[in-house]
Symmetry: C2
Subunit: 330 residues, 2 copies
């Protein structure tokens, strides 16, 4: 491809800014436009000279965009935006509500097939790079078991849940894998692990003035789904401490599969994939941008419909041509 | 696929037996035949009821085989066998001489395209799973650097090199990553590492009666290409000790990429993939068998020509259908 791939961004939050930075690292791509539901005048992009348009006007700009990257949230934005935008654009989203992926896939596939576009959903690191590793490892070691651990990292959902408690001014929650559980899995022991045995949760909470710390701590630790099934630690800190020590958005985790081979299953193998990320949204954005390249290529091949990372041959992600990859990377 | 994929094996050594065991772990496959250059009567398969034929007669059995797995060596067998067999069969090989992959690809591609077959080369863990991880990581973190470490594991080539020294009765060589180098890479420091700084070599040698241990040790440690550039340790042991403590063929290693994201490259990320393998040939065979499934599917789609792991969408490796994978693995 001698013409750069023209990328559009819909939604300019942490993820959108991450995409903007990632596009800059890929010389075969250019940022063509940003679309926002806010007042376009209120946005200050990092990239000079790139136009900002109202989200509602996006379809009018379809001829100037090769791939539109959808940077909204999975709860309410993407279920509507991805099928809608797939009518006009080749798109990539990072829809990450695992349980709803089949329904999202069906809705997006219908729109993309009707429009003749390629729409890649659920791109990032989980779902995304972690999914790839679960699939590769299970294909290679069919008699085995896999484990996914998350962290140490900030969970936005859990931090938000704490903030909704009365008396809480701000909060940050870290998900942490239990070291003993990791070691047991790595040893190939294939342990049965409960939710509590796999991860702990650590919370840093800023109280509003006069709030009852004991009640807040109790409400956190007993919150169903979010904390009740975990060993949770709560630290009360000041706004300044939160800002100073907990302003980053690190994350990461581990996908480990152990399995056995041999006529009598006499040999054991452990496959481990891990990520240690300073910035969750920027890494997610970097994965998305690599897949945007693949989407542009699949579209050029005449493909259409909804895809996931499981449908994409790895060579399509790289700017280098296949012969170069065989010579240098294989 | 309701009919099992019929697998043929050409070459019944460690890798061939590994393929036989791996096929048994995959209910959608069946071992249809083994081809050998030895006397077929001399082979005793693990699987009951499977015919063994002379290698030269393989083409006559093409109608009974969906994918032929070539289990010969990279030095002299595969450069001839893979293009030759691709004229009659869809094939998979584990050609692992990295420098000669482009030439091998070209020869196999010509034969496979002319015959309308699919030929997947250089399948295993390096090249293979490690290549995939180098490609994914470099696509996702273009501003970064990757490192491959091998071991701890037995290097057949280095063990053979020691056995060729006068006075050596038998030998086993382990390649070992240097822990400090691994730590430095994991920290994201992107160090420059010399050959000597990345791996050490440990040799267990059985001398012939009357051999001069000091001379053998000197010849090992100064052997160009194989040992001269490494810190090498040599232990002299008895035949019984070699048999008791060093009869396995373990291997493994690490592919690590660290890179930076953000408008000012302000955030650092580390992606690590590692393997810990009890049996190098059996794990290699397990990878090959998963790719044999993908080859059968690409052939059914009407594809032809030479492929590598970089050309194969991950979903093609799994026995489960794409909807199941999206629901359970994504």
């Amino acid at each position: 491809m001698t013409q750069p791939i023209r990328i559009g961004i819909l939604g300019y939050g942490n993820l959108g800014r991450g995409v903007e930075s990632a596009v800059r690292q890929n010389p075969d791509m250019t940022l063509a436009a940003v679309f926002t539901r806010r007042d376009p005048q209120s946005l200050r992009l990092l990239t000079p000279g790139v136009p900002v348009y109202p989200a509602a006007e996006a379809p009018a700009h379809r001829d100037g965009i090769d791939v539109l990257i959808l940077c909204g949230g999975s709860a309410t934005d993407l279920p509507v935006q991805t099928p809608d935008m797939a009518r006009f654009f080749h798109v990539v989203d990072s829809f990450d509500t695992h349980a709803n992926i089949p329904a999202h896939f069906a809705a997006v596939d219908e729109a993309a097939k009707a429009a003749g576009t390629v729409a890649l959903i659920s791109c990032g690191w989980d779902p995304g790079m972690f999914s790839l590793n679960r699939v590769y490892a299970s294909a290679v070691l069919p008699e085995g078991r896999d484990y996914t651990f998350w962290g140490k990292g900030v969970s936005q959902g859990h931090s938000d849940a704490i903030r909704r408690i009365e008396g809480v001014a701000d909060a940050r929650q870290y998900t942490i894998p239990v070291p003993e559980a990791l070691q047991s899995v790595r040893s190939g022991a294939c342990p049965e692990l409960s939710t509590r045995q796999k991860h702990t949760r650590e919370c840093f909470v800023v109280l509003k003035e006069g709030a009852d710390a004991a009640r807040v701590e109790h409400e956190i630790k007993t919150m169903p789904n979010y904390f009740a099934d975990y060993d949770t630690t709560v630290h009360f800190i000041s706004t300044e401490e939160l800002r100073r020590d907990h302003s980053g958005i690190p994350h990461g985790g581990f996908v480990i599969r152990s399995g056995r081979t041999g006529w009598e299953n006499e040999h054991q193998h452990v496959i481990e994939y891990s990520l240690k990320l300073d910035s969750n949204p920027e890494f997610t954005a970097s994965v998305i941008v690599a897949y945007a390249r693949a989407v542009a290529r699949m579209a050029a091949q005449g493909q259409s419909g909804c895809k996931t990372v499981l449908d994409v041959a790895p060579a399509l992600l790289c700017p280098q041509d296949p012969a170069w990859l065989r010579e240098h990377m294989l």
